[in-house]
């Protein structure tokens, strides 16, 4: 096991986890419609990344499991969406949303750093396959980060300054 193996493993784990986290956030914030829909779109990128990492890993005698078959949280989903609908009429879930966006951002940032490491290792060893993989995937990871950052920036002013006011 060398550094490239280690990085591919970390990325595989990180992209799988991010896909799952995006889908979970999409469901938890079902009543935040933009979050719900865009998180699904962005989860697809992480899914593709996991597939590509797994394919690439085979060339390094590394057997990774690939994307999860059921990254979405399953039958409980409907129940949680219903729960989201019920609490969706209160301001407090806004704070939970900001926390989730922060966690998604940090998860994407971790992946981004691993892509950076992989790209550097690829350049140092003139490994075109790895470099191509990193060049294809890393920009989308950065876009995932910019999205969470933008949503936090746009939503924070309202969500952080209004909780606790106007209770009946």
């Amino acid at each position: 096991m060398n550094g490239v193996h280690l990085t591919l493993r970390e990325l595989h784990k990180g992209e799988r986890a991010l896909e799952k986290a995006l889908l979970a956030a999409a469901e938890r914030h079902h009543t935040e419609h933009e979050i719900h829909h865009v998180a699904h779109d962005l989860a697809r990128w992480s899914h593709e990344h996991t597939t590509r990492i797994t394919e690439a890993a085979q060339h390094y005698a590394l057997d990774l499991s690939g994307p999860s078959d059921h990254p979405a949280p399953g039958p409980l989903a409907t129940l949680r969406e219903k729960a989201a609908d019920t609490v969706g009429r209160r301001p407090e879930p806004g704070l939970l949303l900001l926390r989730d966006l922060r966690d998604l951002h940090l998860a994407a940032a971790e992946n981004s750093l691993h892509w950076e490491m992989l790209a550097q290792a690829a350049q140092a060893t003139r490994d075109d396959r790895l470099l191509q993989l990193a060049s294809a995937c890393h920009p989308q990871t950065l876009r995932q980060m910019r999205w969470t950052n933008t949503m936090i920036k746009n939503l924070s002013p309202q969500l952080l300054t209004t909780v606790g006011v106007g209770k009946e």
Binding site: H37, G94, R143, T150, P157, V165
Partner: protein
């Protein structure tokens, strides 16, 4: 005096054929009240259409103190005297007996009439209470695309500098925000590049999701006149419905809903593959070409054929027309703007023009169209989620400039995040953090998606709603305070159409009862709130429409939408003038970008752009390094599958749209006898094959259902693409016993009972044209056809189906 004839049955009138480069002849359309002759008209008052975005100039006939009809103005550059059916008949709406004539406030659950003092007192008291308790974030304004420039500008100053809230947007969010966003993404700034005059010169006209025949009938008359003349243009039409445009097209592509980006990427692929690229133009005026070329490399017509369900050969044929055009005019509307990946698709049309060098010369232009008559003004005045004068909220210099004009400190104007868009405002209201919503001239209880949700927000006791309108609309019925407003013809102001033409609408008659102009109402609110500038003088010092216009001119100076060369006198003496109109361009400006891209520089641009998939903002530093010289930005986009796709339970794609005879939620057109009779009741459209599969026939009563709700309608069998059901969105409940909602446990009449709450992450425009539905039989018809128009996109396939 109605020489113009029956323009319900013959909406586009007689032809005046012409050839490329020659002038479009005048044809004066007139319609007057029965018994009034043209020579008996006491006054003709200058005005322009307020029932669509074309900006057709007309004069209002006044007889006996009442509006007695309209006459198209032959000298005007936009319509050369022509009028569409909504204008020829629509002027009657203002005289409807059920106009709101007194303010109303909610008392014990009921709306009761009161005087202005009481109603305004209540609005002001609640505003002050909320400012005290929570601050500006509690207060939001939801306006329209149907007021005048002077009213939007006043509203923008009240909201941004008076209250200091982020929450001001227009229903233009539903109709035109993608047009604005696409222009910002490509050209760094809003502003229509092309001109209607381009129709006179084009050899290919491509209409993307734009049923021009019904949305801008006078512009379509112009195209029809070209089609009948020598050297007619070739039309390329992208539309899933058999529109009048599709029937005249050389190539008609009817893609699956939600696949516009795939289709456009394939068209761009073909242009690049066949090297119909203007490389000199690309090098001189753009950045980003390589990224686009790489992005569309794999997007072959064969690939897109599978995604879009259109023949690859048809895509190739369309690309051949686009690629060989010498003067290409493209127009874009709701089929793109209200569909999945709205901005990404609209931007690809801009890209088509950039890579072909089709910009800034006669016949070569882009028209990112508007839906509503004064949507352009909502945008430029900053009443739509932008800062006034196309200023950039991320650029501190722009905010400081605005603060200087208003004589306030820059931190008075919220600019730490983008202005809140309408869908987000309703979300904040749903959460209970936005607690007052002042709605001017629009009807969200019918026009927003997923109406059961919208009704629950509007009726939530935590939300104080003020509704300012002409009629007791569905929304007004749910309000806490209702303010009666003056209508078109009863007040003065300007409006600007989709090709930047500014028209003056003068007051012709008095408003009924105690109704007041929207401007007066807003000015009184500002006075009662006692908004002050930093020298403790009143923040708003204008007192009427003309002085508001002069104030706006100062705000527009030096920006792309520069009005400084326009005066009320000039507009009265002549007719429409296209902005920018300045000392240097006193006659106005026909086309933008005739000599390079002018408003994309990092220091002057309105926006640094967004990610076309995620909507994430591009940061200033990033933009500066990408586009240091302010060229047009070619932005590529990948195709994403629609968010709501068909399933075995909901096997049909649902799309909603409009008909020629109605506007918005029928508030006016439903009260005009001729227009109402032309399309009196909601209907549903299905193809013949799809109808047969479902065991359905013309005139059957059906239910169209989605996970959100259902609509009950008579079925019209048309040549719409298979697998799709269409519902017109105009119909609501004001003329039903329930008044503002469907009968309990029954399917509704409003298409938006069924639509999904989803919006384009870039432009924030709701998606009314990408959802999944099922259709079921309620009862077979008795052979009577559906109550749908027959000369438009809803034309029946079955011969012998009559009606209008």
């Amino acid at each position: 005096m109605n020489a113009t004839g029956d323009r319900i049955a013959n909406p586009w009138g007689e032809r005046t054929p012409y050839e490329p480069g020659s002038a479009w002849a005048a044809r004066t359309d007139v319609r007057l009240r029965e018994g009034v002759g043209e020579d008996e008209v006491e006054r003709w008052v200058p005005s322009a259409s307020l029932l669509h975005s074309n900006g057709d100039a007309m004069d209002i006939a006044v007889h006996g103190g009442r509006i007695a009809g309209v006459r198209g103005r032959a000298v005007d550059r936009v319509n050369r005297g022509r009028l569409g059916p909504k204008d020829l008949y629509g002027w009657q709406a203002g005289a409807s007996p059920d106009r709101l004539t007194r303010p109303m406030v909610r008392e014990g659950g009921r709306l009761v009439e009161c005087d202005w003092e009481h109603a305004m007192g209540r609005v002001v008291a609640r505003t002050k209470e909320l400012l005290e308790e929570q601050g500006p974030s509690a207060i939001g304004f939801y306006t329209t695309g149907q007021l005048f420039l002077e009213e939007y500008y006043t509203l923008a100053v009240i909201a941004r500098a008076g209250i200091g809230t982020h929450h001001l947007d227009g229903n233009t969010r539903l109709c035109t925000s993608t047009a604005a966003e696409a222009l910002k993404e490509t050209f760094g700034c809003d502003g229509q590049p092309g001109s209607y005059d381009d129709v006179d010169h084009a050899d290919v006209i491509a209409l993307f999701g734009h049923n021009m025949a019904e949305t801008q009938p006078v512009l379509w008359m112009r195209v029809l006149d070209r089609l009948e003349g020598a050297a007619p243009p070739r039309l390329v039409c992208v539309d899933p419905r058999p529109t009048p445009v599709a029937r005249r097209a050389a190539v008609h592509l009817a893609p699956r809903a939600g696949t516009n980006v795939a289709l456009l990427n394939a068209l761009l692929h073909e242009i690049i593959r066949s090297d119909r690229v203007d490389h000199d133009f690309v090098a001189a005026h753009t950045v980003g070409y390589e990224e686009l070329a790489a992005r569309v490399e794999e997007c072959t017509p064969r690939w897109a054929a599978d995604v879009c369900d259109v023949p690859a050969a048809a895509i190739e044929a369309a690309a051949e027309h686009l690629g060989t055009a010498e003067r290409l005019l493209s127009t874009v509307l709701q089929g793109v703007y209200q569909s999945h990946q709205a901005t990404a698709a609209a931007v690809q049309v801009n890209n088509l023009h950039l890579i072909r060098g089709m910009l800034g010369r006669p016949g070569a232009g882009v028209l990112q169209m508007n839906g509503q008559p004064s949507a352009e003004n909502t945008r430029e005045c900053g009443a739509d989620g932008d800062l006034p004068g196309f200023r950039n909220w991320q650029n501190d210099e722009h905010v400081a400039d605005l603060a200087r004009i208003w004589n306030v400190t820059p931190d008075t104007i919220p600019h730490y995040a983008p202005p809140t868009h309408a869908m987000q405002m309703f979300r904040y209201a749903e959460q209970g953090t936005l607690r007052m919503l002042w709605i001017t001239g629009t009807n969200p209880a019918v026009s927003l998606p997923e109406l059961s949700r919208i009704r629950s927000v509007l009726t939530d006791e935590r939300l104080f709603t003020v509704v300012q309108d002409l009629f007791p609309t569905e929304t007004a019925q749910l309000a806490d305070v209702v303010l009666p407003a003056a209508a078109w013809g009863e007040k003065t102001g300007t409006l600007t159409n989709a090709d930047r033409t500014v028209h003056l609408c003068d007051k012709a008659v008095e408003p009924p009862g105690e109704a007041r102009s929207d401007l007066d109402i807003l000015l009184e609110f500002a006075a009662r709130m006692d908004f002050r500038d930093q020298d403790d003088r009143p923040l708003i010092r204008w007192t009427d429409a003309e002085s508001a216009f002069e104030a706006w001119k100062r705000c527009s100076a030096g920006r792309p939408c520069d009005y400084t060369g326009i005066t009320y006198d000039r507009l009265r003496a002549g007719s429409g003038i296209q902005w920018p109109c300045t000392d240097r361009a006193p006659e106005g400006t026909e086309r933008l970008y005739t000599d390079g891209i002018t408003w994309a520089h990092p220091d002057t641009c309105e926006s640094y752009g967004k990610d076309l998939v995620t909507g994430a903002s591009v940061e200033p530093v990033e933009y500066r390094s990408l586009n240091p010289d302010g060229k047009a930005v070619i932005k590529a986009a990948e195709y994403l599958p629609p968010h709501e796709d068909t399933t075995p339970d909901f096997p049909l794609q649902l799309t909603t749209g409009r008909t020629l005879y109605h506007f918005h939620t029928r508030t006016k057109t439903g009260r005009v006898p001729e227009l109402n009779a032309a399309a009196p009741e909601v209907w549903a459209e299905l193809s013949a094959a799809e109808a047969a599969d479902h065991g359905l026939a013309e005139g059957d009563l059906v239910e169209v259902a989605t996970p959100r709700g259902a609509v009950r309608a008579r079925l019209r069998v048309t040549a719409i693409r298979d697998g799709m059901v269409f519902l017109p969105f105009h119909y609501g409940y004001w003329d039903t016993p329930e008044g503002n909602h469907p009968a309990d446990d029954k399917a509704g009449r409003a298409a938006n009972e069924t639509t999904i709450t989803d919006w384009d992450p870039v432009s924030k425009q709701p998606l009314f044209k990408t959802a999944a539905a099922r259709i079921t039989l309620v009862e077979h018809g008795d052979g009577t056809p559906a109550p749908a128009p027959t000369v438009t996109a809803s034309a029946p396939v079955q011969e012998g189906v009559s009606g209008r």
